[in-house]
Symmetry: C2
Subunit: 207 residues, 2 copies
Amino acid sequence: MLTPKLLIADDHILFNEGVRQLLSEKYEVVGQVYDGKDVLSAIHLKKTDVILLDINLPSINGFDLAKEIKRAFDTVKIIFLSMYTEPRFIEQSKFLEVNGYLLKNSTKEELIEGIESVLRGETYYDTKLQFTKISLHHNDFFVKQYSLTPREIEIVRMIKDGMSTSQIAEKLFLGQETVKTHRKNIYYKLSITKSTELIKFAIENNI
Amino acid sequence: MLTPKLLIADDHILFNEGVRQLLSEKYEVVGQVYDGKDVLSAIHLKKTDVILLDINLPSINGFDLAKEIKRAFDTVKIIFLSMYTEPRFIEQSKFLEVNGYLLKNSTKEELIEGIESVLRGETYYDTKLQFTKISLHHNDFFVKQYSLTPREIEIVRMIKDGMSTSQIAEKLFLGQETVKTHRKNIYYKLSITKSTELIKFAIENNI
DNA sequence: TGTACAATCCCCCAAAAGGGGTATTTTTTG
DNA sequence: CAAAAAATACCCCTTTTGGGGGATTGTACA
């Protein structure tokens, strides 16, 4: 096989550059991008075997990109390279049938092992993540997160900004009961029971 | 001048290694550590001119380390290399009289510029951070954060974990009123008024 | 055209959080 | 040891949340 062609997508320039340096002995790095919106065109421009994709990218996040890539370039292997170990990220990756998931605190060797596995057609999830089984309702998170309506997301943001039910009601020209209902529906959808959990959810999901 | 000696402290192995590769043409990298508790011994072991220090390190955070380093090795220049742009981090860095503060999404050139400035004895804060003036009460945050007592920090963590006052009381074998008092004192110290704000504080400060 | 969904509003009630105090007992520390 | 700080506990009262219902009005979509 020819030298496999890599694309690196990470907005942290130093990290991106560092990974390139580490992998350029063994692979051909055909591109480095720093923004989600540049990923698809980069793949289009240069034939790519594997993309190392950060989840937290500007403009478009890694999950949305993975969907797009699978749709438009179905031969490109996708490996998430992320600092997050949150189960729901792993679950969502599996749901999206992404080829691999590596952690940013891996060693060079682990990184290469992951890439090699994926090139052989296997899927490779970082060994530190084994605890995350493919749950039977692996798309719970997915459904949960994205079934929040626009109004609900708006209210989540306001709660995150520290506003109380009455303040939100006032600002949105709504009755308090309406806002309460929204809160209840949000909690139900996210399977949580209190505002503190909502804040964590909101921060973790960049809402 | 001889080749300046660098120490890199960052728990993300790939990043750490990447930075080493990038800088090893120009500097001598005398050490790479991945855990806060290994930093002081590493400096002790190898003469170090500049340490690139992540704030978010295991065991001991960058701020505490900076204090220790200044106390024990006052000739070592300290540069924080962090992804955080939060004003209070910058303020605290200035308060600690750290020599530089660089962002992880810098380019190689910016990194070198920062290191060179610091080596010349200047202080260098990433240009993307100019908006952060040294505030008159620059130690407000500092005082706030660190005037939390151990018990209070313990309770902050439990609140962050979603526990209610009564659950905390039960777990700590305390009366609810005691926990309420702690909560009140915490809120007072942090100038906040509700648990949602506490969650944000806790997450942002890795408590 | 009808049904699913979003958005709005209402009732009731319990639990929790928030805000104002005060006070006692340990622990730490100069 | 004496003073300061931390940890503990209580009272009173208000506001906010949380949980259980149910209901109406649009609007989108198939």
